[in-house]
Structures are given as C-alpha cells and as structure tokens.
Subunit: 363 residues, 4 copies
C-alpha cells in the first residue's frame, strides 16, 4: 500500500484533492446485510461540513455523497462500497499569490520535496478535505458496531486553545458548532473565536473520543495492538501532534499502585488504561485524547522561502479554519470506529471459537 | 498479518514468550551488501538487557543473539535475516502464587478474555522481553540508516516519575543505567529508585527520541504518514500510553503564528512540527516523546479477581522492573529506526527519479 | 485487504457492479511526473470495450473514463489516481427470468452462499465488467514501464475453442476483433463464432502474454516470486482456469538437459523458463499463457436449482460474450503490467544500490 | 512484505538457507486451543524429508523440528508459533567447482543479478530445502482444517516425466516413495528413475492436490479469489511452471454446455470448475494440478557463463533430486492447506453472521 489505504479487514481507500473534481473512497470488508442508505453517511458528513458556522472555513460545499456500489436493496452486499463526494466550490484563484511560496507549518513544502510537484491549489492531497472519506467510512463502521455489538463511538472538544473544557453531557455535544460538551460556555468560545479570527491568527485544540461497550478481547498482541492502531489512526489526521490512551502522559507521574486499575466482581474500579491492556480491549470504555496544532494558513505575515529557495514572506488570505480542531470531532470518531471495526473482524476471525469459562462476567 | 509482523518493506516478524525456550525474529527487506555481524546486534541488545543495574529486573539473561540466515561472508544477502535469543533464566515458580489471579493493569486479563488461555508464566507473549526482537531489528535499521543516509537515531530519559530531566548532552546518555542526559543528577535518580523499590511500588517515565539527518521527503500522505507510523510504533511498545511528535500537546495552547515553523534560506527557524509536515519529513530532526506507565507488577497488595470472577487480592513478588521506562530508550530508538528505514525504502521505490530543482538547498 | 485491492507498492483498488451506477478504481503508488491523460487510459479501455464486434456482448457502453485525482497539469503527482467509468446500458430486465435460479458454472451461486445476498442483475460484482478497472490500472502501468524501462507488454489469442492459432506477427493483433496474430485466419474465426453464437453455446480460449525488455532482477525469492504473483494475477481474471509460465505443462515431459536454458556470452539460448528463475526475472521475455473457460451464461437449457434448493432448468438470454477469451487479451496484458510495475518498484526499493560487476552484460 | 511472509490472517514467515545453520518459520494467526505437538508437524516433515529413498537427494537431514513459542500445555495459545529446523548435512565442498558459474535453469544467476551477491553453497535461499517451512506451516493448517471443518487436503503424483499415472486409491499414496496412487506401477517408476539417474539427467512431474469437505463460501471476489491465491501458492513452489484449477487447460476445448457444472438438489453433477466459482468455493472438492520442471542441477555438461560473463560449461555433481516432483506432494498439500485456512478465517471474519436460508442443503 502506498499510503492511501488502511485497515487489514475493514479497508478504506481514499482519493481526491482539494481543488480537483471530487473526493471518493472505497470501503472494503464490510459484512453483508447491514442496512445502509446514503443518509447514514450523509448525516456524519454534515457534522464535519465546512461553512456550518462562522468559526470554520467559509468554503461552500454540500459534501453530498453518492454511493456507487456495494449496496443492493438497502443493504450491504459484502462487496466493495464505492462512494463519491464532488467538490463544488474549488476557487483556484485564492491560491495564486502563494503559488511559489511555502506556508510555514504546511505540507506544501514536504510534498514538493518528495514528489517534485508543486500544486498550489488548496493543499492538493494534503488538504483536510480528505477527511470526508474518513468520515464516510467511519459512518458505516459506527453503524455496524452499534447494531452488531452496541458499541457507541463519541467525541467532544476538550480544549480550545489554552482553554480547558469540562465534560458536562453528551447531549450538549451535537447542539453547538464546537462539539462542546458544556452548553454554558459556548458563548465564550464564540467570543474567543471571533477575536482570534479578527487577529488573523489560529489556535490549537484537544479532542477526546470515547468508545463505549467495546467487548473485551479486541486487539492483537505485540504489533497488532488496538491502542497502537488507534495511535496511528489519530496521528494520521491532519494537524494531530499528540495522542493519549487512558491516563496518557499523566501516567508518567503516577505510581503503579495508583495507575493499575483494580478489579472487583463488579468490574474495574478505574480506567487509567483507557480500555486497553497489552493491546487488547478490557471491556471498559476506550478513551483517547488528541492534540491538534493551530492551522498553518493564517493572515499574519510570516518569513518563508519560495521554490527557488529565496527568502520571502507570506500571508494566507484564502478560506481556512482558524482552528481545525473545531471540526475534528467527527473525524476522530470516524477513525476510532474504523479501527475498532477492523479489530472486531480480526478478533472473530481468529477467536470465533473461544469460550471463556468464567461463570461471572465482569465487564 | 495477525499482529506479529510489522513494516511494509522493512518487515519485522517476532515470536517468543517470557518463559518459553527462546525469542526470535525475522527481518525481511534489508538491502543486500550491508556489513553485519552478530556484534552489531549484540551491542544494542546489551543496552536493554535485564540485570544491568539494581534498578531494573534482576532476571539473569545474557540475551545472546544468534544470526541464522540472511548474512553471508559478513554482509547481508538481501534475503530474510532470522535470529534467535534463547531464554536462560525463566523461573516459572515465581508465578505460582498468581496463577489464577489477574494483575491490575496487566495484560494477563485481556489475553485470557481474548484467547481463553491462561499462561501465568511471566506474562507469556505480553512480557516486555519481546522487545529483544525489536531492538535486534532496530540495530540493523540503525546501521543501514547511518551508513546509507547518515541518519542518527538517539533517545534519552526525559522524566522519571514526576521528576523532569533536562537534556545536557548525548555523551552522558550511555554512561549511566538510566539513559539520563544529565550526569549530575544520576545519583538523585538512583536514590529515587532505591526508595521506590523499597516501597514496593513502581513509577512511570518519559523517553524522548530524536532522529537527525533524515532527508526531506520520507513518509507518505494521508494514511501512510511518517508521524502516524511513528505513533503506531511507539504505542506498540509495552506500557506506552502517549505519543507526541514535535511540540505535541503543547501545540494546543500555541497560536499559529507561534507554532508554524518559519523558513529562511538557511533552513527552518524552529521545529514545532518535529520534523514532519503532512506526514512527510522536512529534513529537520524528527522528534518524538513518549509516556510510559508504571509497571503493573508491584509488591503492594491490590484488589483483583481470579479466573472464576471472584474477588481476591494480589501482590506480585517476582523479578520486575520498578520502572519499565528506564530500559525503554533503546527500544524506542529501535522502533523509530525501523519505521524510518521502512519509509526510506518506500520513498525510493516511488520517487527514485524525482529531481527537485531548487538551486539552493535549504535543509 | 478484503479482496478488492491488490499490489504492494503499485496498488489497485476496485469497486462497482454490472448494474450499479459505475465502476471505479484507485491506483496508488504511481511515481510522480509521468505524463498521463484520459486518452492514455481510454485507448486501452477501448480495446476491451463491449459491442465492438458481433462476436462479443452487444451491451452498449462507451466505457468513458473520468480521472478524478492524482494528475495535475498533465502529469501524475504521486498521490492516489482515482477514476470512474459510468455504466450506461444496465438493462436490469434482462435478468428477471433467472432471478431465483443459479446459472451452472456462474458465481451467482457462490456469492449467494457466501454473503446470503442474491443480486440477479448481471452478476453484480462477479461480472467481467469489473475488468475495466484492471485495464485502466494496467494502462498506467504499461505507460510507466515503457517510458522508464522500455518494457513492452503485449498479448494475443492463441487458441479459440479447440482451434490453435499460430503466432504470425504483432502487427495483426490489434487489427481484428480477436487479437488474432494471424490475419489470414480471421475470416475462419468469424465463421466459427457465428456458428457458435447460432448454436446458443459458448467456447473457451487461450491467451498468451509476453513482456519484452524486462530487466533482470525483478521479483523476490520464496513467497514474493514474480511468477507466483503473475499466476495470482492471471487466475484472478474472470473465467481463467489455468496459468503457465514459459514451457508450462510441457515441462513435465522435458528432460533437465532440454528444459534448462543454456547461457552464452550472447545471452540465453532458449526460454523454457519464461523469463523467470527462482521467482526473479532473467532479462528474457516474460512469457505467460492462460486458459479461459467457456462463458457460463448460454442460451441452451441446463439443469439447475433455485434459491430454495429445488430442481429447475435455466437458459440465459441476456447479452453475453459467447467467448470471454476474445476480449481477454487487453485484460491479461493489464494484469501482467501491474505485477511488473509493482515488482519494479519493490526491486528498486531494496536493491537501488546494487552494482553487479560483470563487465559483459548478457541480457 | 519483502517476499518472505505470506497470508493475510494465517501468516507464514520463513527464513533460512541451504547451507546456513537452520531453517525456521513463524506461523501467525492460528486460532487458540488447537492441540498441537511437535509430532503433528514432524510427521509431515518426514513425508518430504530428503534421503528417504534412492530416488531423491541423498543429503542426510533428520529435519527435526523444535517448537519455540505459541504452544502452551499442548495447545496453541493464539500467539505466534515459532519453529526451527537445524541443518545437519550442509557439505559446502560440493559446490566448489561451480562457485563462479551459473547452472542453466537455476536461480543462482537471477539472485546474483538482483542482489549482487554470489552464494554458491547449495542455492542459498533458492534451495528447495526452504519448503520445510511451508510443510511445517501446512501441518498446522491441515490439522485445524480437519478438526474444525472436516477438510481433508491430499495430493498424489499424477505424471512422472511423460508417463501419466492413473488415480487408483488414496491408500496407495503414502505407501511408496513417489506418492503414487497406483501401487501396481511403482516398480515401473523405480526402474524409470534408476535409468534416469544413471543417465545423469532429470525429469519433470505433475502433482494433483485435492481438498475435500471445503464449505461453500470461502474466497473473496475479484482480487481475493480463492483460486487466484491457490495459483499464487502453487507457482511459489520451487520448479512449478503451471497451475490448473478444475478442468484447467482442458476448458479451452470445452463448450459451455459441457463445462458449466449442472446442479441438482443432490448436488453438482460434475466438477469442471474445481470447486471454485467466481473465486469462491462451491462446496465441492477443490482440485488443483501443477507442473514441475526437471531439476536444473544435472550431471550432464551444459553451456553456461561465469560471473565475468565468459563462456564455459558446467556439470553439477552434488546431491540433487533427479525429479523434484517426487517430493512435491506434501509441499503442494501444505500450500493448499495454508491458503484454505487463511480464507476460512477471512470468511468468518466478514460473514460470521450470514445465514443462507435454503432449507435444502445441496452440497
């Protein structure tokens, strides 16, 4: 694989560029018989859609998905599910001023060093618009996980810039443009973003994702660990610079007597391990936290070089998210769902016949 | 792959258990012609060897490696390199008291839930002894990367428990049992560990790893990102709960005008991105930081359950590292080296013919 | 991978069904900088297009390809090349009479047993229309192989039913509807096909494929053999039941003194091995021969069962190729090209630095 | 993967050379709980062992296997099964006379062209001794397939040189050195081989392999076809030049009305398709036939070149099988078993929940 396919059994292949005609993907390995409509995918795409509030990029895209294969009579057939999302608002002119310059912190420099190709139009393949493919694939995974195992994958914004956000309720999360779990501070976040936008700068964010009702036993030892695959999945999202499972970096300062989650017949007493031990799910919530860097495309002038290696400066005036973290929640959920589904399938491939003979179930 | 092989072109396969006869591995994809002796691997294995100080497990293992294939006349042939490390000190009796109980924070519970098998002997496949395979594979990768591209992969202990350790010099790192880059505080770390060991508890740690001289262009977009693969590799190491690239979680609180690394004809001005942009190396140092949780096997009594789901308590008296982070530096280096080598090969497969026509080189 | 992606470095992913809205694919791993237009792909698609003569299915499809990504300014960018071919003539009514019955020799029975889904419309995913994706991917591979290494991949019809066809010239091959290398017998083949079609029956065929100018050294030992991957590729084509490399089944009756190709400073004296020894290319022509079974959808009545397991009979009156082998030549060429390109990339990944120091080149 | 690992879920990794210290392998993905002893593997290794009759190589190897991991208390644990077979009779002197020459029809030339390395000792990695790893992995697969699904994988010699061998009974197969299914002709085969050996020449062979009781539904469409993977597996065996499934090359001359296997409530009426339709098993016997070329290492003098490209001649006097096909039966069985097991696991991963609602089972 050359970087555009992931998953061993639930495989996702992606193509498309920010200013090309379309994005699309192929989901391979979905079990047959799952009820699936365009709407199942569309509703997740709508959650990450640009232009849904003034705090995100104003690019106008309906992000309307077309299912091209793999579904017959309203159900998955077990064959490859191909889908397409046409680009509708690819204004190439936005990028003319920066056609020969590199944005500090942006991938246009590394793509050019790797491929010898300079496509200035909106980041090309490096654009975060690629995440439509992930979200579509994740929508299918979420649905299957929910229907087959009762797994629920949900996320929320946990920090916006340096501001920490307390978790209040899942109900709030989908009722504001930030996926903020605390309804009372939404107005403050809006003020913060308005100020930020006006300043021409951008900021980072933290997103937490939780998968509930994951059965014990998913994940493989050593190199096939569930948490390692989750770390991969999260770090593969544009702008992510850090990943934690469970207590994450706080584990450093913990003693073993504090970190190791005790067990009782009623279940685990705590969840420092984030639902994964030895790379295998414990039956607790799988908890993941990610750091997203501030957007590299900002209006403030910055020192840079051009394709000839000459010093210059750049300011990016196109339509960009001042905080990519705001729209990252559905993307992180999608990636977690894809990884979980892959491991669900892998687990039942190898261990379908395993019967654990403990009379008392502890999860 | 079912979890015991990783890498697309530089492939590592691993087998072995803590109390079985041996660990071993297969390195597939190494270019032919690399000078390679047993000593090249042994010197890295010796860095992670147990029993090398009183601060780590007292298990007595020479960790002596035997190369079984893939090397002829002192050079790699291009075919699979098989190697073996016999276990010498597998005292199964250590585990008899806990044969039916689960250690809080340990993988013996999840392995049992997954496979229906309870191998109480030293964690079986979940034991950190498996990392001999990684270190051996990493030794070969390190050597090739150094000889072919001048890449240098090095790590150090950056936190021990809640104590932060400042980076002073690479020279110090290999001159103490902690891989501590500050010679002056080693005595304090020893005191800290002596107290910890006496208390019967364990602690976490942070390890930083840096790869210098990585050319720009390694890594693939979207799902084949270098940083995503590094995140996977680090999180696949026993006890790792968090991974950062570059500024990592600090990115959350940064503004874009602060985070985005400016460029001049002399090179990048800073390295918040940790040497990777859009999943592709920039030519700067690749910088990685990981959090290791405290060892789960501790002497202090803890609540747990047994295989019948009944409440009980456990204290683990075998030979364990009170801080697995102490020996983690060579392991993290090895994993980073394997990932870099895989991407070096992938890059030249696809882009061997690319010529980037900038007269002034900026890296 | 769940069956819809192949290739390690030159990766092809496919989706689509005979009576769905479209077929499409993703080619991942193509080096950047290759000049590529829609026409480069279209001209190969046109060679396998239905309806191009009265001897093949009369389904009317323009098989017009749309490139959706991976090409910028007339050149490949190194990122995923997505493409789409819309179905235009999917008359579902053709299949109503057989909706509950299984065609002897057809995959509709096995798909139903595997997935529990019965999609009677034209074979669904099992339809040979899927080969548009292979031909498109092969068109890109052929072009790159030709431009980068001078490799030429060509095929021809070698048997039609039990009639053997002598190889006369490559010039003839593309000048008749059969890819027949002997212009003089085309009229006889037409007569044969007219009679066959009238009889309501179908027939098998043999197609030979040859890759010239393949450098020595492509392919990997043991499980990564070039010939093994070619065998996989050929047998993955609809209706193929046998594959030969070089002397193939004739090797059985040969003595070692006859089969083993002698070498002189001027090169190999013969090519019984078909250009591959030990899984690695020799520098000679890579020669492959495949057997295609007769089409299963025929007008003659046959005994079968229905979805309830009851005895019934079936005759298939839709539009079908009476000999799928007639259109198989471009498909087999495409598959061979994809495998060769994959191994070209794999070889230079591992062996880019190898210098074989023989002053006299023998290939 | 760089050629030394195969399988998606039942993964086999191999290392070792003919004149190195050992061969070994890793089987990854075997379900836990399978009873497995050294003897289960040894008995299959003994079937392919050299020196077991005067008709095969006289190299003296006990081929004694050591299981190093993945088995605890007599059962598989679900983790990687590592195993080792030490070489005992690697007489390097045998090869001194040919150290700089290439054997016509042998891989030593292509290995040298690929890797720039000339290891004259017994073919190095290209030696057919590598098949010990395949046979060991196949032994585990055969056992699991038999116990879990009742699948029986068996093979026999179908042609020796140009002499065709009729199938009489499975009972005969393991009672002679040829895996000949016709006890009455064994003496004739012995005479044939004695004459051949005396002449200093070698001959080819055909081996047929059959898997009985394979459930319908194994295999994946398009690129994951069971028959394509079988073709790959067979062609990856040393000396194989052709593969047929079912009617194979005879399909070319068949009419559709003859080839397509009719179905009745009692089952299929014939098996031209060899138990696979559309890449998915039908529930019938999976039937495979392979052509093995004559051994390239023969005593008769042949024209060749040396590493300097100069004309010379060669005669190979070491210990070689005059017909590698004689020992190929257990190898071909092993490869078929590995592929079937891989697809059994893949199938239940995706389709574990499928219920095909036909009251009358037809297989």
């Amino acid at each position: 694989m050359s970087g555009n396919t992931f998953g061993l059994l639930y495989c996702v292949t992606s193509f498309g560029e920010s200013h090309g005609p379309a994005y699309g993907g192929v989901v391979d390995g979905c079990p047959p018989g799952l009820e699936l409509t365009k709407e199942d995918i569309q509703k997740e795409l709508d959650r990450r859609k640009p232009g849904s509030s003034r705090h995100v990029t104003q690019r106008r895209e309906s992000d309307s998905v077309e299912i091209l294969s793999g579904v017959y009579d309203g159900r998955t057939t077990g064959t490859a599910i191909g889908f397409l999302v046409r680009n509708e608002d690819q204004r190439a002119k936005d990028y003319s001023a920066i056609a020969e310059k590199f944005r500090p912190g942006h991938a246009d420099y590394t793509y050019w060093k790797k491929y010898g190709v300079r496509d200035p139009r909106g980041g090309g393949r490096a654009s975060a618009r690629e995440t439509v493919v992930r979200v579509a694939a994740g929508a299918i995974a979420k649905k299957w996980l929910r229907e087959r195992y009762g797994v629920e994958v949900r996320g929320y914004l946990a920090e916006l810039g340096s501001r920490k956000i307390a978790f209040r309720s899942w109900d709030s999360v989908n009722q504001n443009a930030f996926f903020c779990p605390d309804a009372e501070i939404v107005a403050q976040l809006e003020k913060f973003m308005d100020d930020l936008r006006e300043s021409g700068d951008s900021c980072g964010a933290r997103v937490n994702v939780v998968a509930a009702n994951v059965p014990a036993g998913w994940g493989e030892p050593v190199y096939g660990r569930l948490d390692a695959d989750i770390a991969w999945a999260m770090m593969s999202i544009n702008a992510v610079k850090g990943v934690e499972i469970g207590a994450g970096f706080a584990s450093i300062g913990q003693k073993g007597s504090e970190h190791g989650d005790e067990m009782t017949p009623q279940g685990f007493v705590s969840n420092n391990n984030g639902g994964v031990l030895g790379g295998i799910s414990t039956g607790q919530d799988v908890t993941v936290s990610i750091a997203l860097k501030p957007t590299s495309s900002i209006r403030l002038p910055r020192r840079t070089i051009n394709v000839r290696g000459e010093a210059t400066s750049i300011e990016t005036t196109g339509r960009h998210d001042p905080c990519v973290g705001i729209r990252a929640t559905p993307i992180a959920e999608a990636m977690l769902a894809c990884i979980l589904m892959d491991h669900a399938l892998r687990h039942r491939a190898q261990c379908a016949d395993v019967k654990v003979e403990n009379s008392k179930k502890i999860n």
